[in-house]
């Protein structure tokens, strides 16, 4: 059963030479979750199915969810990997609260996911893996497929995918292990039939994906076709479903994940700044793929350096900025903790530094592959001394592109480190992105001062309070910088009491001044009303959708998503006054709420979740409804 039907059921043609399913139904939106062992290729299946939805013009939102272990014990609950896709004929913002369709490739995947499936939802199960040992590994005492409970609650389709794939690949010379690895494409084929996807682009995609191993590509094509044809011929499925294209603004589109977007944003930022970029980092989940992408862009003005540790990652980036390039480093919570001292150094010597912080569950090693927003305090306060730095937060995968550009613009304009906060949800989740034209992006060419006339190392621009950027190699401007307190003008070491106060103040004023560049806030709904939902970062989709649902119920609810986490937009204070209640929803214990309370003296409420998962729309609707 799909989530909502907008079309009518029609019978399929009976005169067709091949059997056609008896029903065709148009639905507005579907949430599908593929779940299997982490070696089952569920991420690939999900990604390919996403492409099919995008090609069909659906709006999409994805949520990959995988274990921290690369290969947890096969068949175990810990090893279950999932990929959820929400596709729709209308504008959507989230990967969906709960799946309507679950594809479970083994008992552990069924056990770990079945409770999320909506009652009455469709459950496609690979029975070929329901062996006694696998059932035991999943913690089933008896086979759930033989019990009525499952059948009563859901529309269950048990299929021995293992057997069918083996049969389809009988003629190939693949080993049985290799054959086993094709079964995800059977699932993909079946789902493509069910949602009436064009077959040819899918086959082309598979062949392209395996172009280096064409025999595997052909095997996967066979498995895909087997799945597709199974849907077509086996009369177990009564209906295929059509999700009409969503209405998009005209233009060229691609799917984009947050980490891809950040990498592209950094490349674009370097070009807009007309300045080379050095990215220097150390592998860490979920930030690593930014590094992977950038390493391919050496002919775009980006040099990458894999440092020996997180500290050196920041150190080399600072060395680059000191040398006149844009230093960029990326990490996640534990790595950002290690970089703290270096970020403080960049703040002290006042050079640009872009720090990409892709949050994950904490504290300590925490939940490396799960999402969370609990590093806001770390970004604001994770350094010794009075060390304010600007912080911005990406709200969606595509928005991360523009945030990377803005972070770089702020860093170079104000000569300061900037932290760009993203999270595991944005990093790995995908959405359609209407591609910008580079010509439409605003350039911000940087200047390296070469004229010593009237210059002093810490003399500041009157408007931005930034000092000039002088790169070594410039004659007549040799000077010394360092982490010791600086004289207000000469930059020489100063222990003078009044000077220290003055320097702390000017560093504070400089960062506060970043707010002068802010435009309008991202508000949806009226600018006054009963409840203002405040969020930041990756919760945007769930909060915006929830606010829309509540307004649809006639409630006076508005939503503002904060991009500029520090310094906050002064307009936020004014906005909050226009609402009877303000609720800050965030995936932490109330970090932004505390900051807003201290900045604006407004008694805001909080709604907080610490489960390593994004908000569902329903959770937000319930929480906000209680306030009205």
């Amino acid at each position: 059963m799909e989530s909502s039907t907008t079309g009518t059921s029609t019978k399929g043609g009976s005169g067709s030479p091949i059997p056609t399913p008896p029903g065709h139904q148009e639905v507005e939106e579907v949430v599908v979750r593929f779940a299997g062992d982490s070696g089952d290729g569920m991420q690939l299946t999900g990604t390919e199915f996403t492409k099919a939805a995008a090609l069909a013009g659906n709006d999409i939102s994805t949520f990959p969810d995988f274990p921290a272990e690369i290969r947890a014990p096969a068949g175990s609950i810990a090893g279950v990997s999932g990929f959820q896709l929400h596709f729709s004929s209308t504008d959507i913002h989230t990967p969906g609260d709960a799946p309507n369709v679950l594809v479970a490739m083994n008992p552990a995947a069924l056990k770990a996911n079945i409770d999320d499936l909506v009652v009455g939802g469709t459950c496609i199960i690979n029975t070929g893996t329901f062996t006694k040992p696998n059932l035991a590994k999943a913690g089933y005492e008896s086979n759930p497929l033989e019990e009525e409970a499952l059948q009563k609650k859901y529309e269950v389709h048990p299929i021995d995918i293992n057997k069918m794939v083996n049969a389809a690949l009988e003629e190939t010379e693949l080993t049985s292990k290799e054959k086993g690895r094709c079964k995800n494409f059977f699932a993909l084929g079946l789902m493509c039939w069910r949602y009436e996807r064009d077959v040819e682009p899918q086959l082309a995609n598979i062949r392209a994906k395996f172009k280096k191993k064409p025999h595997l590509g052909e095997a996967n094509v066979l498995a895909f076709k087997a799945g597709f044809n199974y849907g077509l011929t086996a009369e177990v499925f009564q209906t295929t479903y059509e999700v009409k294209p969503a209405a998009f603004e005209p233009g060229l589109y691609r799917n984009i994940t947050g980490n891809e977007a950040i990498a592209l944003g950094i490349v674009a930022a370097g070009q807009l700044a007309d300045c080379p970029v050095l990215f220097s980092g150390y592998p860490i989940t979920p930030a690593s793929t930014i590094f992977h992408y950038l390493s391919n862009y050496k002919n775009y003005g980006v040099t990458t350096f894999q440092a020996e540790d997180e500290i050196a990652g920041a150190g080399a980036a600072i060395g680059a900025s000191y040398g006149g390039a844009i230093g960029v480093t990326a990490s996640s919570g534990p790595g950002i903790a290690l970089k703290g001292e270096a970020i403080g150094l960049a703040a002290m010597i006042e050079v640009p530094l872009v720090v990409l912080s892709i949050q994950r569950g904490g504290p300590s090693t925490g939940l490396p592959t799960k999402t969370e927003q609990s590093d806001l305090y770390q970004s604001l306060y994770g350094r010794n001394g009075e060390c304010p730095i600007p912080i911005i937060a990406a709200k969606t995968p595509a928005d991360a592109f523009y945030c990377a550009i803005e972070a770089t613009r702020i860093a170079t304009k104000y000569m300061t480190p900037v932290i760009l906060l993203s999270d595991g949800y944005i990093a790995n989740g995908a959405e359609p992105w209407k591609l910008p034209q580079v010509e439409d992006l605003t350039p911000f060419p940087v200047t390296h001062l070469k004229d010593a006339n009237g210059w002093m190392p810490y003399k500041r621009d009157e408007e931005t309070l930034a000092r000039a950027w002088v790169a070594p190699g410039t004659k007549g401007m040799e000077h010394r910088v360092g982490g010791l307190e600086k004289d207000f003008l000469t930059g020489n070491v100063s222990y003078d009491a009044d000077n220290h106060q003055k320097m702390c103040q000017v560093r504070e004023d400089k960062v506060r001044g970043v707010a002068n560049d802010y435009g309008d806030m991202d508000i949806e709904g009226e600018e006054s009303g009963d409840v203002l939902i405040v969020g930041w970062g990756g919760t945007h989709g769930a909060l915006r959708q929830a606010a829309g649902v509540l307004r649809g119920q006639g409630k006076n609810i508005s939503h503002v998503q904060i991009r500029h986490v520090w310094p906050l937009n002064p307009k936020l204070g004014e906005l909050m006054k226009n609402f009877k209640k303000v609720i800050v929803c965030e995936l932490n214990m109330g970090q932004l709420r505390t900051i807003i309370r201290s900045e604006f003296l407004v008694d805001v409420e909080g709604y907080n979740k610490m489960q390593g998962k994004p908000f569902t729309v329903a959770e937000i609707c319930n929480a906000v409804s209680e306030l009205v």
Binding site: L55, F248, L278, Y300
Partner: protein, 342 residues
């Protein structure tokens, strides 16, 4: 042709604030002289340091200077070289900065062979924090944190550098300007990471800890001046080092009726790893302390290789077109009706 610069042209206007008698003064003077003698350009020269007494060094040199954070100078210098490989970059560090908190960064700067000149001031003590023992302190060193004597085994900077795959390793004495100068010049001329361990005295917290090496009265017997291609001779040529059958060094009397010079080990800067390890293991007073260039071999520097790769990619792929990059992968066009065009 610009006028040749003199040492004073590399002296900054900042008051030097090391303790009276500190070995750092001599090193500073030797480095400033080396810069002048070897034609360094102030605008193209950068001194990067970490934290510690020695790391104040950049403030006193009239070039670009960066006094950074504890132990991290090699990483900052690496980023700088990747950005502007034409700069002459010196890293100033101490035994604590380089081998304790910054051990990891030094290791990797050396193995990558980043084109840096690294001067490690080894006074075997933490001076700036008032005299705690360091990773190079002799066993039994009494200090505020080891009032009953340190029990941990010290690290040998030369062994560390050799083990890290360094391509240039040398040792010199702080106040011995005559030999320190040429070693600094050789380090500068070397393409790749050069590490110089400078035997340095801290008159306040660890006075005379290097006495066995530096005492002029015992210098002839306790110092082994290395010269490439020359046998290991010391004590005015009366003694030398020979290799025993079990590959350990032994001191022998040299001369007529004694051991012939031809039996001695010949110093080779590009000799075997075993030989360099053997040199590193020799220390006064058991052996004469090797001084001079211990190892020098040619290997491409990291900055050179990394930037050559960038050039190669540029050559093969051409300058990247950002619009094309954004539009790469699977794309689709939405037409004026808001629906995808097939």
């Amino acid at each position: 042709m610009t006028e040749k610069l003199k040492r004073k042209d590399f002296v900054s206007d900042q008051e030097v604030r090391w303790c009276p008698g500190c070995g750092d003064y001599a090193i500073l003077a030797a480095v400033q002289k080396c810069l002048a003698d070897t034609g360094s350009k102030p605008e193209n020269t950068v001194f990067v340091s970490g934290i510690g007494c020695s790391s104040r060094f950049p403030y006193y040199v009239k070039t670009y200077g960066f006094h950074s954070i504890h132990g991290r100078a090699p990483s900052i210098a690496t980023g700088l070289k990747l950005t502007n490989p034409d700069l002459e970059v010196w890293v100033i560090t101490g035994d604590g900065d380089a081998l304790s908190i910054g051990g990891n960064h030094l290791l990797h700067a050396l193995r990558r062979n980043v084109n840096l000149n690294i001067i490690l001031f080894n006074n075997k003590i933490y001076g700036l924090t008032k005299g705690q023992y360091s990773p190079t302190s002799n066993e039994g060193t009494k200090s505020p944190t080891t009032p009953f004597g340190s029990v941990d085994y010290p690290i040998n900077p030369v062994s560390f550098a050799l083990g890290s795959g360094a391509t240039f390793v040398a040792r010199a004495i702080d106040v011995d300007a005559k030999s320190l100068g040429p070693i600094l010049a050789a380090a500068k001329a070397h393409k790749g990471a050069s590490l110089i361990e400078v035997v340095q005295n801290c008159p306040i917290f660890n006075d005379n800890v290097w006495d066995a090496v530096t005492n002029r009265k015992t210098a002839t017997t306790n110092q082994l001046r290395l010269e490439d291609g020359k046998p290991l001779l010391f004590d005015n040529g009366n003694k030398g080092i020979r290799l025993t059958d079990d590959l350990t060094p032994e001191i022998v009397e040299v001369g007529e009726g004694k051991v012939a010079e031809s039996e001695l080990i010949v110093h080779k800067e590009n000799g075997s790893a075993a030989y360099h390890a053997l040199l590193a293991s020799m220390a006064a007073p058991e052996f004469p302390q090797p001084l001079g260039v211990i190892k020098q071999v040619e290997r491409p520097s990291y900055d050179e290789l990394a930037l050559a790769q960038v050039d190669q990619v540029l050559k093969e792929r051409g300058k990247g077109d950002l619009n094309a990059l954004l539009n790469s992968g699977m794309t689709w066009t939405v037409g004026p009706d808001g629906r995808p065009e097939q």
